[in-house]
Structures are given as C-alpha cells and as structure tokens.
Symmetry: D2
C-alpha cells in the first residue's frame, strides 16, 4: 500500500509543527494528597517536519499517547514526547495537555470540605540536546476593587477573576502549592461550599484585602520569587490576572513576565 | 441532473426540523434611537419534512435569507420564514437569529457616553394558520448578595450576573425598553465607561439595592407584567438570572415562567 | 446569624428553578467493560421555590453532590436529586450533569485499540410522586453526501457530523450500546487511531453508505425502536444530526421526536 | 476624590500589559468592494505600566476606542493605539481586535451570490520609535486527503478545515486578496450557497486537488512569497492549517513561520 506521506517533497518548505490537535482522552496525573488523580484532557502533539518529506504519520502520535495516558506526571509527559520524537525520526517534538485539576478545599470557619477545579496545562518541547517543560495553572479568585472601596462611603465592587501563572521548571513541585500561593495573593480564594459563617468570613477578609489586577499580578510575582517548595527556583514565569468586572461587561487585565 | 432529495422515502418517519444551522451573516435590525442598526448574526433556519420526502433543499434557506438580511425587524423576520415555508412547500418553518444588540449608555454622574452590547435572539415559527414570535434578551448586570451584606460587618460580595428574558409578543416593542426594565430590577446595570464619580455612585447604589438571583427574577417578572410600552401585554414570558458568584467558581441561578 | 433566605417574601411569585449551575466536579459513572469509569462533569442542580420564601440555601446542593460524586450511575443520580429535594423541603428537584464518556474502540482492519470520547448528559426530575430520567449522548460520525455522490463523476463531499440522541428510560441500559447503534446508522463511526489499511476501509465503507442528515436521523429512529438491549422500550426519544459540511461554513441539520 | 491608581508603588515590579479585555463594540472597517464594512468586534487594549505606579486608568482605553470605533482601517487602528499611549503617558500601547469579515462570493457554475464570513484579527503595538501591525485571517476551506484518495478504490475522506494566516505588513493590502490566495491553495474554498451544478463542480474540483494540512500550509507560503498585490513584501508571516478530520474526532494540524 502506497505511503503518500513518505513521498519526497520539492517545495523546500520545512514545517515547524505538524501533528494532532484537540484529542480528548482520560488521563492520570500526580496528586499531592492522594498520589494519583484521574481527570480528562485535551491534547495536542506535534513534531517538526523537514522540507523534503510530504507529510507526517498522524496515527503514531495517538498510539504513543494511548500507551501512556494512564501515567502522565510531568516527567512522564516529557518521556512521552521523546518517544514521539524518536518514533517519527524528528528533530523536535512538542506537546500540550490541558486538564481540570481537582483539589479538596476546607471552608475557613465551618471546616466543610468540597472540591474546587483549576485548569492546568502542561507544555513540553524536546530535542536531542534539550528538554523544556512549562506548566500553566489558572486559578479563579475574588478581587475587591481598591479604588471603589476608597471612594465609596460603603461597599466596594468585587468580582470573580482568574489568575493564570505559567512556569518553567527543571525540578518537581506540586500544583497544589502554586494554587495556594495564588489564592493567598488575591483578595480571597474560592470555595465550592461556604456556610453562612464562612460567607461572613470571606466577605470581610476580601474587603480587608482589596486588590487591583495590577496588585494581584505583583503579589503573585513576589510569592513566586520567594517560593521555597521547589528544589530549584523557576527559571522563567509569566503571571496574568483577568477580572470579570461586576460594573462592566468587559474585563480588567494585567500581565508580567519574569 | 438527478435530484436525490426529491426521491421518495419509504421509512415513514416525518422530521420535525431540517435545515441549516450556524450560518454567519451581517444583518440590519431596528433601533429606537437611530432607526436601523448594523450587526452580525448567527442564524438557524428549518422546515418540517413529511415522511415521504428523502431530503430538503438546503440552498433555498440561504438564498431567501440572503435577499432579506439587510432588513430584519421582527415583522420582516416572520415574513422571511413564511417565504421559506412556501418556497419549500412545507407546513411549518422555524428560525432563530442571535445577534449582539448595541445601545448607547450614559454614565450616571459624568454623563460620559459609551456603547453596551446585549445578546438578542429572535425565534419564530410560522404555519399557514399561525405565526409565533419570541425574542430573547440577555442583559449583564451587577448583583450584591443580600445575605453577605446582612451577616458581614462591612462589605458584601457582588458580581456580574446575566438576566435573560424570553418574551412572546404580538405587537411591536423596543428592545431598548426591555433592557432598561431589566437593569432597573438588578442591583445595577453595567456601563462600558465609568469615571470615578460614576464608580462611587454605582458602588453605593448597588450596595443600597442588594438582590439574590431569586429577587432579580421576581422584580423583572413584576416589571414585565406592568410593562406599558407595548400595545398588548406579553402573552408569555420566562425570566432567568445567573450570577457568576465572586466567592464560588460555580454560578447561582433562578428561573420562572409566566 | 440572620438567615435572609428564610425571610418571608410577599411578591407572590413562585420560581420554577433555583440552584447552582456550572459546578465542575470529578465523577464516577458506570462502564460496561470496566465496571466503573472516572470522568469529569459540569453540573446544574435546582429545586422549585414556593412564592413565600425569599431564597434557597445554595450550599446544600453542593454538600449533597459532594457526598455522592464518586458513585453516579443513573439510579444514584436520581437518588441524589431526591435527597436534595427532601433536604430543601421542595416539591421538585432537577439536575443536569454533562460529562465526556470514554469508550475503547478497535480499528476495523488493524485491530489497533484507542479511546474515543462521547459527550453524555444525565437529566433528572423528581417529585414525591414521580421520577423522570433522560440521558443524552452525542456521537461524532462521518457522513458522505448522497447528492454529491450521485451527481459527481468521482468523489463525494463528506464531513464530520454529530448525532445527538436524548432518551427517556425507565430501565437500565448501557451507553456503549447506544453509541454502537448510532455509529452503525451513519456513513461511519470515528476512531482515534486508524492505520492505512483501516483508512482505506473506512473511506470505502463510508462511500458505500452515503447519508444525508435526514437519513441518519431516520436510521437512528428505526434502530432505537428496535433496540432490544434494554428491558423496556424507551418511552420517549429525540434524535438530531448536525453536519459540519465540508463545502459550506454552516451546518446541515435534521431532528425528530418520537 | 482620591486617585488610588496614581498612588506610588514600592514593589518594584513593572507590568508588560495592563488594560481591558473582551470589550464588545460595533466597528467599521475597510472593504475592497464597498469602501466600508459594518461589523462587530471583540477588543483588547493595553499599555505597559512602570513599576512605580500602582494602577492604570481603565476608562481612558474605552473613551478613546469609543471615539474611533466607526473608522478602524489598519492605519486608524494604529493611530488609536498611539492616542492611548500618549493619553496614558506610557512607553508602549498594544491592541487586538477580532471581528467577522464578510465577503460576497459567487458560486462557480450558477453564479449565485452569497456572503461568507472570515474571522479577522488586527494586532498592533506602538512605542515612540516603532509601530508594528499584524493581521490574522482565518479562512475555512475544504481539504481532500491525498492518502485516503491514493489507497482507496473509490472516494476519499474530506472535511472542513481552517487556514489561519498572520501577516506583518508595512504597506496596505486588501483582506479579500489574502482570502482568495488561501482558498486557491486548499482543495476548495467554501460558499454559503451552492446549487446542484455548483456542488458537482466543487466535489470534482476538490477530488482533483487533494491536500494534506502540510500541503495547504506550503502552498499558502509559496503564494504569500509571490503575493504582488501589496506595495512591499510581507516582512514576516505564519501559516497554520487545522482539519476537522471526518474520520477522527481530533484534528490534523500543520504550521510554519517565515
């Protein structure tokens, strides 16, 4: 049976990335409390394609991912990319895997337990000489507007916002520790269950800690620089905060890159 | 050239709806202030299909919509559906058209003008004997939580919410009047531009008017029953409110149907 | 601490539904092959609210769901709704839970195994006297256009489509059996891994089985009426097919209700 | 009234971008045939924020955009960003504006006219010394799989795909010319209306021109290098193609950067 993809190509245009996008798969990742966590992922997998090949073999990406989907900690994710790279005889392989990450939260006064979801994304790139790994974590938070609080006789507009951190790391750390760091940098973290004493607590706590998007980004930056639950400091990171303003139908946004 | 769609079908299964979905088109609708408003729509158009036909002729839906896209007030929308019904020799035709509707707002203290967007949807159904028209308007608002305000020593959690009203009407009315009615029923309406004196005003005004999702729905219901800017009262309506809670990552919701 | 929600309300407007929407949780559902399947869900939970209460207690929905999220077969889902109904002293409780459902598929020639995802939704409503349960399954398929095949000298446009079935059932059945029934009614089912001999097979098989959206809906209808892997026949169902046409930027659609 | 944003900040963290996201506004852009085109946009506007300022003044972004929303050709978009930069006394201003762009198409045999939509995005960055402008155009196309055609006795799987080109340009060109270039590089362009003789034509034409995602990207690259409807060649571009595979539930993807 003819292998069209293997046909020589004379157009002399190398491609940075070819592969599969939007593959939906169940996956297992690491969990600080329980060891392993079952979740569901949306996955993209690519290699580079030299100019002289007509096409890549798309089924191999999924075959390799299929064999490894049940054990995808950060290290295993990079090993999976390396296997793709070698199988397709490419210089580079790239991958991206987005998944909801679940974490049990304890309500601040009642102690009621519930589960919160945070959107995480692994991003990796491997070549023969180099491996790069990034992790992105999006954490929803409460933000109280410092300007609204300062100028109003009572009250202050507040809203749900989302803080997104992207980290480059060379040693292992726990996603849970990053989530806690981010929630502590906003006016408040969010919970799936709050009883009335909890609601009183979070309302007053947030009002006592007003934060612009600019403030949240800066506080997260400082906390990431001081983060000591990782063997080595992060070599690179970016921090974003986007507020779903309660007084506007558009969002406020701030971003910085280390 | 053979017309496969016209082939007889022996499976004896009539279809309630066949047609096109997710057609994107520029459209022109009516505007209380400026007469006409240019906007962009996502459109679905269907007819019923008797059991003895294999298929419908999909291109005719778009041909008729194309001829009429530049003049789509409520009446013209129903006339367009009737033309589809007759052209396809069907008992019934259905249509749905969602579009952002823009309205100029004036900031409450500074008087600054800006434009707000509201998602509107026309829904129509026509047969030889009957015409039904519904309009849905989704209005983003501010809601301050009455419980949080009552139990906390200071502050109150608040957030962006969205109120969605669906109305059946037999006489014309202005979308703008429905938007104003809804904004007046929430803790506050939203604005694209607010200067600091406006921000002080809306913060305090919202704090003075706390509303649960349940309250917003009930206030909108009362206002719709008393609405006098339409020749005839609405024969049917539903009201929903969904709050993007600033203390949770899930939403609070209430709904009622007249 | 004051309970504002319990305050009497004098507006005399009962609400059909109040509760929580867009709650994200890990869940465990039943699986024909493995007994249980871990997946992730988006959940809405409501009760009705009589006119004389100001509000409902939103945290209780999540408390009850939290206790039961790890065992949510169809029966357990209804039991969970009944517990919510009683806990909130309501006449009715409603719930909706959408989740990706994963199923292993075997490629038709090479026999390679891979996992496909299907979007499923449970919908339930319980009152003291009645329980209703619906399940919705969305199955992506291939459809080859019969008209294009008939009028062209070679080739035929084809595309990905999605068939959505909603079933009311009173006895248990397997989601996997519904998926197989739907895939057999289209030009072809989809796979996450196809090697070249598989690709040849599915291309020719689909070309041999051209289907309009109208055909797919009718074939699924017939198969559901003849479905014998369920103790009792379905009391109600609807079938939709939407094709992401490869020659248009809009979709073709057909729907019927039993 | 206190200006909290103007308060000095001692955390010594400059922010790359602060501003507004997800602002929805009606806009007017240029149109090759009609001079001007009314459409609707989603807009983000940012400036950098030096480390010594606590916050930016979010309302000014919207004030400036509001004054200019009705005349937003490429040049005017950059002028708008420059006005924001100066008004907020910033070193840099950034903006991003996504909108559906509509273009009349003529069916290849019947000559029937209809309107197609293409998603366009302006991206600009201005500083005192430099102005950069990028435009992104996403064009839905048909792609027939060369492998499936070569290995199958009849038929070939095909599907809707989307080609996204991002161009940096220093002289004006027409979006319409880029769309035509892209459609000519795929197996076929799409149409909102095709009568049966047109459907025969596009089916056969696509079958005669099979293209992998890799092929489409390379053909578009070659065409962009040879593009002569612009005063100066593009200084930079990227080309992506993503196929919504009709035999998989995931997508095939290829990308290159000049």
């Amino acid at each position: 049976m003819i292998d069209v993809q293997n046909t020589p190509d004379t157009r002399e245009i190398p491609l940075q990335k070819v592969g599969v996008k939007n593959l939906h798969y169940p996956v297992t990742v690491l969990d600080k409390t329980n060891g392993r966590q079952h979740t569901t992922a949306t996955v993209s997998l690519f290699v580079n394609l030299p100019h002289h090949y007509k096409g890549t073999h798309m089924s191999r990406f999924v075959e390799i991912f299929h064999r490894r989907h049940d054990d995808l900690g950060m290290k295993q994710f990079l090993a999976m990319l390396e296997e793709i790279r070698q199988s397709l005889d490419a210089e580079k392989a790239f991958g991206c895997m987005e998944f909801p990450f679940y974490m049990e939260k304890v309500a601040p006064v009642s102690g009621e337990k519930s589960i919160m979801n945070y959107t995480c994304t692994y991003e990796g790139e491997v070549s023969e000489s180099e491996k790069q790994f990034f992790i992105k974590v999006a954490v929803p938070v409460t933000t109280v507007c410092p300007c609204s609080k300062a100028i109003s006789e009572y009250g202050a507009h507040n809203q749900r916002g989302v803080v997104t951190v992207k980290l480059q790391n060379t040693s292992l750390f726990w996603i849970e520790d990053i989530i806690e760091l981010i929630e502590a940098s906003a006016s408040n973290g969010l919970y799936s269950i709050l009883k009335r004493p909890d609601e009183k607590f979070v309302t007053e706590h947030a009002f006592d800690n007003p934060r612009f998007v600019e403030d949240v980004v800066r506080e997260v930056c400082i906390a990431l620089k001081n983060f000591d639950k990782c063997e080595k400091p992060f070599t690179w990171f970016s921090v974003e905060c986007e507020n779903f303003e309660s007084i506007h139908n558009h969002n406020a946004y701030a971003m910085t890159v280390k």
